[in-house]
Amino acid sequence: MSLEVAANMGATPKAEIPADSPMVIRGMTVSYGQKPVVFSVDMTVAEGSMTAIIGPNGAGKSTLLKAALGIVQPLAGQALVFGKPLQSARHRIAYVPQRASVDWDFPTRVIDVVLMGLYRELGLLRRIRPHHIEKARACLERVGMTDFADRQIGQLSGGQQQRVFLARALAQEADLYLLDEPFAGVDAATEKAIIDVLKSLRSEGKTVVAVHHDLTTVRSYFDRVFLINTRKMAEGTVDDAFTSENLNQTYGGRLATGQIDQLELAAG
């Protein structure tokens, strides 16, 4: 299929887009070289929900998020944030990137990283005042990292680094939180700390979308799933969409029947 056709496929009529949805993705296609990683994907994020983006390795989970945020340039497609173009609603999104994307020997302390979440508030020239630091500390408190505020970030464990990233996102006081594999390679204490924060965000009416790789925790952590393998495979509540049939389709033969049986799936 030519790429022009792909672009046309994404051109769904505007009337279908629910204006109040925190994020609507239409016809998103991203390719590295000639190989599409994400192909004509539509996604509608439900307000106040926690959505897991799941799919096999290389299925375009992270790429979909990055394209929606404009971090990678999509070939076709668009993302609307709270009914507006990305540029004018960007401040309502907080993004937590993968840990690997960062230089950990950077001369910066934990508290400085969290203060980066306040850069919009600070602007280019305003000085950092005690109340900004108070705010950053409160965010560290929420992820249980107050004691580490003055450490250089490279001295933290992987899980602690992930919690600092989450604290930085909290400092932005956004309405939509997008997380790229927040539980990858973290310890049990961190996983619990992160999921507690995410659930409390949901109870405040915020929306959470996370790329997730651990199928066994989908049911207990999330209320909606989005299955992707280059194309969208399924989307909906955990009860409706997290079915063995959909998983088989998404993962191909990569999941053993035994594995699927253990997931307490809805009868699909």
Binding site: I71, P97, F106, P107, M116, Y119, L124, L125
Partner: protein, 401 residues
């Protein structure tokens, strides 16, 4: 004499050079911080070498138009334009082809520099417009510096500093975490170009004093020096400015005292001296500090192991351990514990058992995370917690410190 130079009492030209160089040193260091943090230090090498053709072309144009070919503002403008073209070549090659950045830098640097040398040679054979002196842009020459030249350098340096001040937050964000920066709406490509443009500005205004070959040193040595002293970006920017300014000030002073000495190279050597001193002596990241920390740690490990061996009546094979125990008055030369040694050994063994319990118990998770085999348990747990653990261990009580 040297003091006179530093305090600007050594004549007109020396004063101009010292002030100009110091400002340049501060601007170069501060700008270089962000190049270093973005790991693009080498690009500045391409930028500086790409200035040369611009100098040549500007000279020719000004002569053709009937002006003075050596007017500094014109030459610097030419340098800026051609190094901007070189910079765009590097970023185009890296983004649009599969060439890696180091290959692109190598190609652009050598081609532009070669072209520049050809142009300078052509100009010399033209014999027009008192061409002699253009080659001073290679290594810098301060002897004939005019008041207007100093003004250009001072003004350019001040403007660069203001620009860095305005852009410091987006530049820090970009250098630390480019994906997050992009998600916050920072145009990564444009911000990268801005960092490069600042480096370019410093390069161009530094041509007169240090020349295009050595300006890289003024951009890069101060940041790597400052990195030894701090773990904060904002502090690093200030320390870099200090190192850059100090090196240039002292360097310019030295070269004023010994007029045969070239200013640029002396500044670079002073800067290098500051770097070596920091490398050795900086309190946390310095080589000496790291070594001392290691030695101290090794001592603690040996002492602890020795005490545990004493407590369990095991022989100690390492001579270093016995020597440490003897120095601390805990054992005799033959490895037999003293009275004090026996008490300390019993305590060490007891602590080891306490730690074992702490590490096995979920309730002490955060304390257990601090276990390193060396730490005194009293620094981690309260007295009540310790006696609770002792009750669980059973046996004789009250061995505590």
């Amino acid at each position: 004499m040297f003091w006179n130079a530093l305090t600007l009492q050594l004549g007109y030209n020396a004063t101009l050079v010292t002030i100009g160089a110091t400002l340049l040193g501060i601007a170069a260091g501060v700008t270089g911080t962000f190049l270093y943090l973005r790991k693009r230090a080498l690009v500045s090498d391409a930028i500086s070498h790409a200035t040369l053709p611009g100098v040549g072309i500007a000279f020719m144009l000004m002569v053709l138009l009937g002006g003075d070919g050596r007017a500094l503002p014109g030459l610097l403008l030419g340098a800026a334009v051609s190094s901007w073209v070189g910079l765009l070549c590097v970023s185009w090659l890296t983004q649009r082809t599969r060439l890696s950045e180091d290959a692109a830098i190598g190609a652009v640097l050598s081609v532009f520099f070669g072209f520049g040398i050809v142009l300078l040679t052509v100009i010399q054979t033209m014999g027009a417009g008192r061409a002699a002196g253009l080659e001073s842009f290679l290594l810098g020459a301060t002897a004939g510096m005019l008041f207007n030249d100093a003004l250009v350098i001072a003004g350019g340096g001040a403007l660069t500093l203001v620009a860095v001040l305005i852009l410091r937050r987006p530049m820090t964000l970009l250098a630390f975490d480019p994906e997050y920066a992009a998600a916050r709406g920072i145009n990564v490509g444009r911000m990268d170009l801005a960092i490069m443009a600042l480096a370019l500005a410093v390069t161009v205004i530094g041509l007169k004093i240090v020349g295009l070959i050595l300006i890289v040193a003024m951009l890069i040595i101060p940041p790597v020096t400052a990195r030894f002293w701090t773990e904060r970006t904002d502090h690093m920017v200030m320390i870099t400015g200090l190192c850059g300014g100090l090196a240039a000030w002292i360097g310019a002073g030295l070269s004023a005292v010994a007029p045969a000495m070239p200013t640029g190279p002396i500044i670079v050597l002073v800067s290098f001296g500051l770097f070596v001193a920091s490398l050795l002596l900086a309190p946390n990241r310095g080589v000496l500090a790291v070594y001392l920390r290691h030695v101290r740690f090794q001592r603690r490990v040996h002492l602890r192991q020795g005490l545990l061996a004493l407590a369990q009546g095991q022989p100690i094979y390492e001579a270093y351990t016995v020597r440490l125990l003897k120095q601390a008055g805990l054992a005799h030369a033959d490895g037999v514990p003293t009275e004090a040694g026996r008490a300390r050994a019993a305590k060490a063994l007891r602590d080891e058992k306490r730690w074992e319990l702490v590490r096995a118990d979920q309730a002490f998770e955060s304390a257990a995370a601090l276990y390193d085999g060396l730490r005194d348990i009293e620094t981690v747990l309260t007295g009540d917690q310790i006696s609770e653990i002792d009750q669980r261990i059973g046996g004789p009580q009250g061995v505590a410190s």
